[in-house]
């Protein structure tokens, strides 16, 4: 894999070396090289356009941003779920205390 092929492949996949090594293992070197050439040829126009944009990031960096945003959303949801859980538990305790207060008043009334 040439440096240019690696650069273009890195625009499409997270780990270009892992992609190529797996292709060689499964398809054999000859077919893996053909597949690499085909993929790079197909992706080159997209890469050429993207790399001209300010702040260009290869796929691995773009994916890391996406993954972090998802992780933050999951963490936020967990935090909200915990808050909701406490809120419902407090509501249950309030109901019990209210019932206890009512029982105390009932007891006084009976006396």
């Amino acid at each position: 894999m040439s440096p240019l092929q690696r650069t273009i492949l890195a625009d499409a996949v997270i780990d270009p070396d892992e992609w190529y090594d797996n292709a060689v293992t499964v398809l054999g070197k000859e077919r893996a090289d053909a597949a690499l050439a085909e993929k790079v040829t197909r992706r080159q126009p997209e890469y050429n356009a993207a790399v001209k944009q300010p702040g260009y990031q290869p796929r691995a960096e773009r994916q890391a941003v996406i993954d972090q945003a998802r992780a933050d959303a999951v963490k936020e949801n967990a935090s909200q779920a915990e808050a909701e859980k406490k809120k419902q538990q407090i509501a249950v305790l309030d109901a019990i205390l209210s019932d206890a207060d009512s029982l105390a008043k009932l007891k006084s009334a009976i006396k």
């Binding site: 190529y20 499964v26 597949a35 993929k39 994916q63 992780a71 909701e84």
Partner: protein, 284 residues
């Protein structure tokens, strides 16, 4: 002259082979011209001699409408022949057909890496330009695998887990790895991918999130993704499933990733069984 050289204007067909079939031809040559014509028609429906792959392969000049292409040399062009002439090709090995938007138009506009016994139908558009009307892999990719037994403690506290489908029901292109759960595409195209997983044993705690991801080389697809708020009486089992049509290039991979969040640790178990935890795919 073979059939490809005939004219659609009857008057222009004044000879066949070396026989003058024009008005006033000698009666003694009538039978020869008929036999030549029969031979030409037969040749068009005949299997031509095998042709070796090369940058330009003369399928138009070949005597026969069907032929084997031997060798593994990349093909970038075919020879010039009249518009509308068709050729069925059967490839004997792995070679690359190089797409060209004018001279060698391939389906989806992408190169094709052939496999032995693949078939293709090409039609001439004249001037050395050819269009592939049909490409039929001898064994188009299709696989089905499942997880045969449960695995304990795979996720629960947000850990992403790659599901290993260890039992293969079928795998036409030997592209599925049942040790890693990864399928590798051997041909470029659109793949229908479907999966289902089932988690259980949450220890009486309500999970806050669950997701199922089809992870391809080109992009990720979340086919199931739920966020859960606290409910009295906690959820203790969840089945996640879905499918996508994904663009994959030859050499690309796809695997299934999952995660659950909300537990104190990775204590959720992944179920096993062909009915509940499976992964399937097919080239469309």
């Amino acid at each position: 002259m073979a059939l490809a050289g005939w004219s659609t204007t009857a008057a222009s067909n004044a000879s066949v082979g070396s026989i003058n079939w024009a008005e006033g031809q000698a009666p003694s040559t009538v039978n020869d011209s008929a036999r030549y014509t029969m031979a030409d028609v037969k040749a068009e429906w005949y299997q031509a001699a095998d042709l070796a792959s090369g940058s330009t392969v003369n399928i138009g000049a070949a005597v026969g409408g069907y032929m084997h292409i031997t060798g593994t040399t990349t093909i970038t062009a075919f020879d010039t022949i009249d518009k509308g002439i068709r050729r069925w090709l059967k490839f004997d090995g792995a070679l690359t057909l190089t797409h060209n938007a004018t001279t060698l138009i391939l389906p989806n506009g992408v190169n094709i890496v052939t496999s032995a016994k693949d078939m293709a139908l090409f039609i001439s558009e004249g001037s050395g330009n050819w269009r592939c009307l049909v490409y039929t892999p001898a064994s188009p990719a299709a696989f089905s695998a499942y997880k045969s037994a449960p695995t304990a403690d795979v996720t629960g506290a947000g850990t992403t887990y790659t599901v290993i489908f260890d039992s293969v029901i079928f795998d036409r292109t030997a592209g599925f790895n049942n040790s890693t759960g990864v399928f590798t595409a051997s041909a470029t195209g659109l793949y229908l991918l479907t999966t289902n997983v089932l988690f259980y044993n949450f220890g009486g705690v309500t999970i806050t999130a669950a997701a199922l991801q089809i992870h391809t080389s080109n992009r990720d697809y979340y086919v199931a993704d739920g966020a859960f708020q606290y409910v009295a009486g906690s959820l203790q089992q969840i089945s996640l499933g879905g499918g996508v049509i994904a663009d994959m290039d030859a050499g690309d991979t796809v695997s299934i990733k999952v995660y659950i969040n909300g537990l104190a640790g990775d204590t959720a178990d992944l179920y096993g069984g062909a009915a509940d935890v499976y992964f399937q795919g097919a080239l469309l």
